[in-house]
């Protein structure tokens, strides 16, 4: 076996062990070293050179990145997630013909969809979805994310929140928590537009809080511009939008006329 590959797999074993131990710092360190080591493999994307060990190399690289993605979920680092996911993606899309499908693939794709949903990047969400083959849509991980998105769009926020109970994988929890917050933000944004004020009780129900304290905390943190007075939340209406700009018709007419005059003079 290629010495490099051996080295990588040794590191990888240690990395996996660290992950299992939940030793975040060590695993992050090892991961970084692994990534550097991977750059020396010519069979990896974007080169895809055909080398004798190509399949092993690709597989191990894919495993490393899959673990990296999961690690980032554990760390709650969305940037790292995005970075690692993008580096992983070529192994799914472009290396399809060279490698057997990874068992983790759908789970990771679903995670990514969820992340997009959490970050409220709906357009990208749909782009990703379109790129998936039809049979992938049937996978529970993917299906879960798709259903979530549908509920989210419909405004059936309670369904979104209850979906937390049916997660296909425990690594989804992190995002589901975040999603609850996204939903709440969404509701808050809508209420702000829809109501001048709400009673604290209604607001609590509306924002799906179990106690007034939670509500107050949320308001203080996220919407300090809201006022709480006489047992009701007063949404400070967004400043009246400036009236539509007047069309400078007179000026335009003058300009056009002067152009016409100039044209006449030229010929």
């Amino acid at each position: 076996m290629d010495p490099k590959l051996t080295e990588v797999s040794q590191y990888f074993e240690r990395f996996k062990a660290a992950c299992v131990r939940e030793d975040i710092d060590t695993s992050a360190n090892l991961l970084s070293q692994l990534k550097v080591l991977l750059t020396s493999f010519r069979s990896l994307p974007p080169l895809f050179e055909v080398t004798p060990n190509a399949v092993q190399e690709l597989t191990i690289a894919r495993d490393i990145y899959e673990h990296a993605v999961l690690l980032s979920v554990k760390m709650g680092d969305q940037d790292a997630f995005e970075r690692d996911f993008f580096q992983l993606k070529p192994y799914y899309t472009d290396a399809r013909k060279r490698l057997p499908r990874s068992p983790q693939e759908h789970m990771i794709l679903g995670l990514n969809l969820l992340r997009l949903l959490v970050q409220n990047r709906i357009a990208e969400f749909h782009t990703e979805l379109e790129l998936l083959p039809a049979e992938s849509l049937e996978d529970p991980c993917i299906k879960h994310a798709v259903e979530l998105e549908q509920s989210f769009m419909e405004g059936a926020y309670n369904r979104v929140l209850t979906a937390k109970q049916t997660v296909p994988n425990q690594s989804y929890d992190y995002f589901m928590d975040l999603l609850a917050k996204t939903v709440r933000d969404e509701i808050a944004g809508c209420s702000e537009k829809a109501y001048d004020f709400l009673s604290t009780n209604d607001a609590r129900q509306m924002l799906l809080f179990s106690s007034d304290n939670e509500l107050l905390k949320y308001i203080n943190e996220e919407h300090p511009e809201w006022e709480i007075k006489d047992g009701s939340v007063i949404f400070q209406k967004a400043k009246e939008t400036a009236p539509c700009k007047e069309i400078p018709s007179l000026q335009l007419i003058n300009q056009t006329l002067s152009y016409a005059r100039e044209l006449e003079r030229i010929v």
Binding site: S32, K35, V36, T39, P45, P46, L47, F48, E49, D79, E82, R83, D84, F85, F86, Q87, L88, K89, P90, T93, D94, R265, I266, V267
Partner: protein, 1007 residues
């Protein structure tokens, strides 16, 4: 290919955000490989890469890689400026030899940038050296690469553009074909360098390179030196060549001299001539430079006796040629010859002989005009006289005048002035006998003073026209005449004459004489004085211009202001940017006449440069000035600026030619006429065609004249519209209800169409692509005929004979044949009009056919019987020119050739695809590309030129030579008698009759 392996650069971009530098490096490298494909994706993250480039901690090489990547992305985004600045940051990673669109585009951009910076730095000349050294490095790398790859032309172009004369020199000297590159470089420097100063620098560099070569190309060197105005250089080269033992060197020297003469730069030529040593001994044979010409026996005495002012020096030929050593003798003999050439006498003489012997003008056209114009209409009457003069310009044939003395005598006052001056046009270049020809009309100091001032003034003007640009011999006489008179008409003629004769010599004394006339503040004389001063100072950009400008502000007379305005414009001829201050001053003047002069100044200063700035300015004035005169002139001036690129002019003025303002339309017509003169350009004709039937009479006039200028020397075979145009002219002239203006235009147009006996064209550029000063100035003054008809004659200055004249060592014209590789009918003379038979001029359609058939037959017959009829042919002055020697079938027709009416089908024979022509021959400009020399010919040209004067090397010097062009025009006496009778007063007529009239010159009538 690997590039197709991945579907997105997302992974690589994500890698850029990794914290480990090695990963970033890896990502950059990969991105750089895939940027061509994934630039849209990368462009969203370009800020990240930019920050990598700016990251000081990053490895230098990686930073350059980042810069290169950013540069490529910006290139794809179309942000070339940003792209370039990052490419500079990429340093050596930016590979100039890479063959990709990106590199090509950026290189072009870099070179442009560098060139414009360099230009700016040099032009402002103050704070240079703000150029990014990295930019300079890229350009230099490019230059070195071009030179190394052998792309010398490319390297030269870049070097010239970037003002890197050091690189230019390197490119030239390292090229494999130095001569080729040099001549290419000269061409480039004339076409593409707009700044005169810089062009001079380039040319002087070229001269240096030339001189270092083992076998210098003296022809080109001398052309450069002429542009640089360095007569010493030319003189020393000529001297060296003349001193050589080799006869070929002497031939080359003569050829150089002829080429220089063609550029008509009188002051320069005189300078060169004066720098050559005077011949120490005067060998018998070449005692008189003019007798070296083939002058026939019968004219010899008259030349010697009458040519007093010029022959003096030489004709005192020392009959006792002392026995100096042989080489000195040949040297001085050659020296005499070359001085003759440089003074222009040789070429003028030969041209005159050519025009005379090949004259094909069609008197019937004139006759028709004469009959159709009304008796009392003096405008048309004098137009006919102008037309005749132009038609016979330089041919010395004045048959028409002699045959119509009564008719001619109806010209009075200014008409008489121009009628007399017309003789000058007809005898243009008749240097030796010019003065004696005009003698009857010239002011006779105190001797009765019988003549009218009008004919006297006209005669002085005529003298100027005869000696235009070669006025050494006549200057003094004109000055005396000017000083001894105070009649304003005579002053008028004398001022014009002096200006013409001393064109561009900047002679202070003459200037003072003319100035004193100007200060008399007489309108008529002052106008001519203004123009005369301008002519004298052409292209000198002297201080005198401001003096003239000051007087123009002072005087009340519009005519004087106009004359001065034009004069000032003439002084800045060809000075380009140097003239800008003056132009600015004139174009901002309150007085529209001075603004109008400003237009001319623009036209002449930037003549033939197609300078964008000048064109922009002119177009601006053409649409914005309040005065119609200024607008008209501005459009017209476009013609002058553009004459080096005639194809462009119709496009530029096409909109203006549809203007609602008739003055602008008129200007557009003339602009096309001027810049496309003699080209027969199809677009030009299409543009002018609708204007010839414009609603406004003067627009029609301008369009007709312009059309004639464009079509000069064309026949129906090359463009059928020529025939249509001729018929249109005829119709306008015959139409009783036509406006006088357009009728005059039509009459003039018929003159221009057949100018100079159908052997001249209007040419503003010499064959070496230099401006011909005289021609340009001539046309500029000619365009003034709007205000003053006598100025029409200035058009004769722009005529140049379309001839191939081969000369041997003795500067004689040997007989030899060469090939014109095209159908003879393409370039033959237009068919002569038929004799209007006994009845009126009603023509049957078949008449044209039968006569043309006849003409062909006549030619065929002549061809067959050539040997038998040699003397006849010689008398016809047409030594087998355009005879059809690729015959074969044509001889078959001999038998029936005398029949009057052959069916037209008979001539439907295949036309030969080439013809043999005999030196000297008419070679029209469009024919030049077909000219070939025969390989087994006895004579070999020194320079491969299809027309003009060409020196021939004689390969069989021992055999006797057959010479042609030996019949010199000798119509002196006859002319004098005849014309005097028409124009002169009674007393002169009596005097003239004393001279026995000679028989009229041989003239071929079509039977």
């Amino acid at each position: 290919m690997a590039a197709t392996m991945v579907s997105s650069a997302g992974g690589l971009l994500a890698m850029l955000n990794e914290s480990h530098p090695l990963l970033k490096q890896q990502a950059l490298q990969n991105l750089n490989n895939y940027v061509d494909q994934f630039w849209p994706e990368i462009s969203t993250s370009v800020t990240i890469i930019e920050s990598l480039y700016e990251d000081e901690e990053f490895d230098q090489n990686q930073r350059q890689l980042a810069a290169l990547l950013v540069s490529k992305v910006f290139y794809y985004l179309g942000e070339l400026n940003d792209s370039l600045s990052y490419a500079l940051g990429a340093g050596s990673l930016f590979d100039v030899s890479e063959d990709s669109d990106y590199v090509h585009t950026l290189l072009a951009k870099a070179i442009d940038e560098y060139a414009s910076l360099k230009t700016k730095a040099i032009e402002s000349s103050a704070d240079a050296e703000s150029i990014d050294p990295r930019l300079e490095a890229i350009v230099e790398r490019m230059l070195d690469k071009c030179i190394a790859d052998g792309k010398y032309q490319q390297a030269m172009g870049i070097a010239i553009e970037c003002r890197r004369l050091d690189k230019l020199e390197e490119a030239i000297t390292r090229s494999d074909n130095v001569h080729g590159t040099l001549s290419y470089c000269i061409g480039v420097s004339h076409c593409f360098i707009n700044r005169r100063e810089y062009r001079c620098e380039v040319l002087s560099l070229l001269v240096n390179v030339y001189q270092k070569l083992p076998s210098p190309d003296y022809l080109s060197i001398c052309q450069c030196l002429m542009f640089l105005d360095e007569p010493e250089g030319v003189a020393s080269i000529l001297e060296k060549l003349l001193r050589s033992d080799n006869k070929d060197d002497a031939l080359l020297a003569f050829q150089i001299a002829f080429d220089l003469v063609e550029n008509e730069h009188q002051a320069f030529l005189l300078n060169v001539r004066d720098r050559l040593p005077t011949p120490k001994s005067q060998p018998l044979e070449s005692a008189n430079p003019r007798s070296a010409e083939p002058v026939s026996g019968e004219t010899e005495p008259s030349t010697a006796s009458e040519d007093v002012p010029m022959a003096e020096g030489a004709s005192v030929s020392s009959t006792s040629a002392p026995e100096i050593d042989k080489s000195e003798e040949t040297y001085s003999e050659r020296l005499t010859k070359i001085k003759g050439i440089l003074s222009g006498e040789t070429s003028i003489q030969l041209t005159l002989q050519f025009l005379y012997s090949h004259n094909k003008s069609d008197l019937l056209i004139l006759k028709a005009i004469k009959q159709s114009v009304e008796m009392r209409n003096s405008v048309c009457h004098s137009a006919t006289i102008y037309s005749n003069a132009i038609m016979h310009a330089g041919t010395t044939v004045d048959t028409f005048l002699r045959e119509n003395l009564d008719w001619l005598s109806r010209a009075t006052n200014w008409a008489k002035f121009s009628a007399t001056a017309g003789l000058g046009v007809i005898h243009r270049g008749h240097l030796q006998q010019g003065r004696s020809l005009m003698a009857p009309y010239l002011p006779q100091g105190g001797a009765g003073g019988g003549g009218s001032p009008y004919s006297e003034g006209g005669a002085l003007y005529a003298l100027g026209l005869i000696h235009a640009n070669h006025g050494e011999g006549i200057k003094q006489f004109l000055r005396d005449s000017l000083r001894s008179t105070n009649v304003e008409v005579i002053q008028h003629g004398a001022c014009l004459g002096l200006g013409l004769a001393a064109l561009g010599t900047a002679d202070e004394d003459i200037y003072d004489d003319i100035k004193s006339v100007l200060y008399t503040d007489s309108a008529v004389a002052g106008e001519a004085a203004g123009i005369g001063m301008g002519l004298l100072m052409v292209g000198t950009a002297s201080e005198k211009a401001s003096e003239m400008l000051a007087y123009a502000h002072e005087t009340q007379h519009e005519k004087i202001i106009r004359g001065l305005a034009l004069g000032i414009a003439l002084t800045v001829y060809g000075r380009e940017e140097e003239a800008d201050t003056l132009i600015e001053q004139m174009t901002r003047d309150q007085d529209p006449i001075l603004r109008y002069g400003g237009m001319y100044a623009l036209a002449l200063a930037y003549g033939g440069t197609a300078n964008n700035k000048a064109i922009r300015q002119l177009l601006h004035f053409a649409v914005s000035d309040v005065s119609d005169d200024v607008r008209r002139t501005a459009v017209l001036a476009l013609g002058f600026v553009m004459y080096s690129e005639p194809e462009q002019t119709p496009r530029i003025v096409s909109l203006l030619s549809e203007s609602y303002n008739p003055h602008v339309r008129y200007g557009a017509a003339l602009a096309v006429g001027i810049s496309c003169a003699g080209t027969g350009l199809s677009e030009a004709i299409s543009l002018l065609e609708p204007l010839t039937s414009d609603v406004v009479d003067f627009v029609r006039q301008g369009a007709l004249i312009a059309m004639a200028m464009v079509m000069v020397q064309m026949n129906e075979a090359s463009d059928s519209r020529v025939g249509t145009f001729r018929r249109q002219l005829e119709k306008i002239i015959l139409d009783k209800h036509e406006d006088t203006m357009s009728k005059m235009g039509a009459i003039l147009a018929s003159g221009i169409l057949d100018a100079g006996g159908r052997n001249v064209t209007i040419r503003l550029l010499s064959k070496t692509k230099h401006d011909k000063i005289t021609a340009v100035v001539g046309l500029a003054v000619f365009s003034q005929f709007w205000y003053w008809y006598p100025l029409i004659y200035f058009i004769s200055l722009s005529f140049s004979a379309t001839a191939f004249i081969g000369l041997n060592y003795d500067l004689k014209v040997p007989k030899f044949d060469f090939i014109s590789n095209a159908k003879p009918s393409l370039f033959e003379y237009p068919k002569p009009t038929i004799v209007p038979t006994t009845t009126s001029a009603v023509k049957l359609p078949t008449a044209v056919l039968s006569t043309s058939a006849k003409a062909t037959k006549a030619r065929a017959k002549k061809d067959a019987e050539q040997k038998a009829n040699t003397e006849k042919a010689a008398a016809a002055g047409e030594p087998s020119t355009s005879t059809n020697s690729g015959k074969g079938k044509s001889t078959e027709k001999d038998g029936d050739s005398m029949q009057v009416d052959t069916p037209p089908e008979k001539k439907a024979e295949p036309e030969p695809s080439f013809e043999l022509v005999t030196n000297p021959a008419r070679v029209v400009p469009s024919q030049e590309k077909y000219i070939k020399f025969m390989e087994d010919s006895r004579y070999v040209p020194v320079k491969l030129a299809p027309s003009g004067f060409v020196l021939l090397r004689d390969l069989k010097p021992t055999e006797p030579e057959v010479l042609s062009l030996t019949d010199a025009p000798s119509s002196t006496n006859a002319t004098r008698a005849a014309a005097a009778a028409g124009l002169g007063a009674g007393g002169q007529q009596a005097m003239a009759v004393d001279d026995e009239p000679q028989p009229p010159q041989p003239f071929e009538y079509t039977s």
